[in-house]
């Protein structure tokens, strides 16, 4: 191999994988894209499409059932329109699901990469420390942190991000271990590339697909957990609407208006299924092997 070839090999990011025929989008992927896209639209357009105020209600119009004229999804215990609260609630749902995964994704991927590329001692120091976070039931650790920080969206996001770092780092580390003995890494090293260059130009492009797939599915879980935090009173502060908090609120009327509580429950389920479908679809598109569900 001439010096020229080696320079080119190091300078250009190596082909991640061979060209392959484009996989057709399956029905599930389309469904995932539609659900997630629809959710984004609803969250963005909330002020325009919500029929009435999400925070103030008419007590004389309290606990109307589904299908009431003017309030197709009924009204809650304070007479607030449930459809409007549901529409506005898409914002904290997306923020509470996506932000912790983004934060945990960056921190976890960095830790996982450092651990995977570090010598033996460094790797076990990082991974054994993360094992401690892993030892907690996920939601309980989030509750412990959230309860100490106090209620609020930011605190709920921080708590969930801390909880999600360990699983992301585990996936990243496993992926690094898979690629780090590959020939192209040896070539890069032999041609004098530094650790940092190898990490960013050779390793990262090769572990990114698996990480993106994992994080997409993790958003579905984070939405469920974040709604759970609000359910417990650790998320969005009332009167601002949030699906988890609506669920806890409306379940108290289950004897009089059993169907009302199902509305926010269905929204949470739909959002979680949407991101899971999107994750599965991306997995096929990006040709990622089956990983284990870590959380």
């Amino acid at each position: 191999m001439s010096a020229d070839t080696i320079t080119r090999v190091v300078a250009s990011p190596l082909p991640v994988r061979r060209a392959r025929p484009r996989v057709r989008w399956g029905a599930e992927t389309v469904a995932g894209v539609v659900i997630v896209g629809g959710l984004l639209l609803v969250a963005l357009l909330a002020p325009l499409i919500a029929p009435s105020s999400p925070t103030s209600g008419d007590v004389s119009r309290r606990l109307f059932d589904l299908g009431t004229a003017g309030s197709p999804l009924g009204t809650d215990g304070q007479g607030r329109d449930i459809l409007s609260r549901l529409i506005w609630g898409a914002r904290p749902a997306l923020i509470g699901g996506v932000t912790p995964v983004l934060i945990a994704g960056v921190i976890g991927a960095t830790l996982g990469m450092v651990a995977g590329l570090a010598p033996r001692f460094g790797r076990s120091a990082i991974m054994r420390t993360l094992d401690v976070l892993y030892a907690f039931p996920a939601i309980l650790l989030a509750v412990a942190i959230g309860a100490a920080l106090g209620p609020g969206v930011t605190n709920s996001v921080v708590s969930l991000a801390v909880v999600l770092i360990a699983p992301v780092a585990r996936v990243a580390e496993a992926e690094v271990l898979r690629v780090r003995s590959a020939d192209f890494i040896d070539v890069a090293r032999a041609s004098g590339a530094t650790r940092a260059i190898i990490a960013v130009r050779q390793v990262l492009p090769n572990i990114a697909p698996a990480l993106i797939v994992y994080c997409t599915s993790l958003i579905g879980l984070a939405i469920v957990y974040s709604a759970g935090m609000s359910f417990l009173g650790l998320g969005v502060a009332p009167p601002n609407p949030d699906w988890g908090q609506m669920l806890n609120d409306l379940r108290q009327f289950i004897y009089d208006r059993p169907l009302l509580a199902l509305v926010p429950a269905a929204a949470i389920l739909l959002a979680s299924v949407g991101f899971n479908l999107l994750g599965d679809g991306l997995k096929r598109q990006l040709d990622v092997r089956d990983g284990e569900v870590l959380l």
Binding site: R128, T129, D131, V132, L133, A135, F136, P137, A138, I139, L140, L141, V143, A144, I145, A147, A148, L149, G150, G220, V224, A227, G228, F231, L232, G233, L234, L247, N248, R251, I254, Y255, P258, A261, L262, A265, I268, L269, S272, V273, N276, V293
Partner: protein, 312 residues
């Protein structure tokens, strides 16, 4: 084998200390001065100084941690602010109820998961296999609190089963508790059942394609006997997923217990969170995490007992 268990226990010790450190750190995250909060608005600098000295809060953090850790080892997990009782005994009392719920849910999840997994692995192409796969996918996506809500709705509408609590006033005994246990246990079991079914199905179908299965078949072994051998080969995978699901169940009981008013640790933590009763929250989380670490030691030991390769 005893050597393996001891080794595994020794590995669990640093994790448990780490868990204690994490819980200690979350306590330190609480904004504001705990001494001022305890003494109220009329405290003087002198009284605040005295109290913080008495509580050891003027010491450096590592010393504070050691003091807290040693008293935690003696069973002193602080005093609940809202109930004014030792947090440790409150947590232990409710944890027993959680264990009942957890055990029942795990049993249901294992039975259902294994049956569904065997069906899906044996008939991958049939309609039955597809239904099982669809069901497991659904159970993995659906939040536990949604399952709980749906079952509660069903119970409210039909009125057959009790909708909450562990007993009904005027009735007691194991029969009543069992009746009250059905709904929360089923609600808690659905998601782990899906996870177990999925994992068991994929592991079993892998084993079913191994050479030893073909050779059993070629020798004319009855298909049920072949299946028994194949299931034997999937037990390690089953143990691994069971360990993961116990962790999930411990977290999920938080919501199940609130929805069904089951007087366990989850409900205690929920009430503690609502009342800003930090010592009680931390005690509950600490105990759950420590129990989980021990459960994983048991799971790994069972794994090793089953598969000699793990012991090496």
């Amino acid at each position: 084998m005893p050597v393996y268990v001891l080794k595994r226990l020794a590995q669990a010790v640093p994790i448990m200390i780490g868990v204690a450190i994490v819980v200690f750190v979350t306590m330190k995250l609480i904004p504001g001065d705990p001494v001022a909060a305890l003494l109220g608005p009329n405290s003087t600098p002198q009284s605040r100084h005295d109290l913080s000295q008495r509580l050891g809060l003027d010491q450096p953090l590592p010393i504070q941690f050691l003091n807290w850790f040693v008293s935690a080892l003696h069973g002193d997990l602080g005093t609940s602010i809202s109930l004014q009782r030792p947090a440790g005994s409150l947590v232990l009392a409710s944890f027993l109820n959680t264990l009942v719920l957890l055990g029942a849910a795990l049993l249901l999840a294992l039975i259902g998961g294994i049956v569904l997994g065997v069906l899906a692995a044996l008939h991958p192409q049939s309609a039955l296999g597809r239904i099982v796969r669809g069901f497991t996918l659904f159970t993995i996506s659906i939040p536990q609190y949604t399952v709980a809500l749906l079952l509660l709705l069903l119970a409210v509408e039909t009125g057959i089963l009790p909708t909450g609590g562990m007993t009904t006033t005027g009735q007691s005994g194991p029969g009543t508790v069992l009746l009250h246990l059905i709904l929360p246990a089923v609600a808690a079991s659905i998601t782990p059942m899906g996870g177990i079914a999925r994992m068991f199905a994929s592991s079993l179908s892998e084993v079913l394609h191994q050479d030893f299965v073909t050779s059993y078949r070629a020798r004319g072994l009855a298909s049920t006997a072949v299946l028994r051998h194949a299931i034997h080969g999937s037990v390690p995978a089953l143990l691994t997923i069971t360990g993961l699901q116990i962790s999930y169940l411990l977290g999920g009981t938080l919501f199940i217990e609130v929805i069904f008013a089951w007087p366990g640790l989850g409900q205690l933590v929920y009430q503690a969170v609502s009342a800003r009763d930090y010592p009680l929250v931390q005690a509950g989380v600490l105990v759950s995490a420590l129990v989980l670490v021990l459960v994983n030691v048991v799971v790994d030991s069972a794994h090793a007992g089953f598969d000699p390769r793990v012991r090496a």
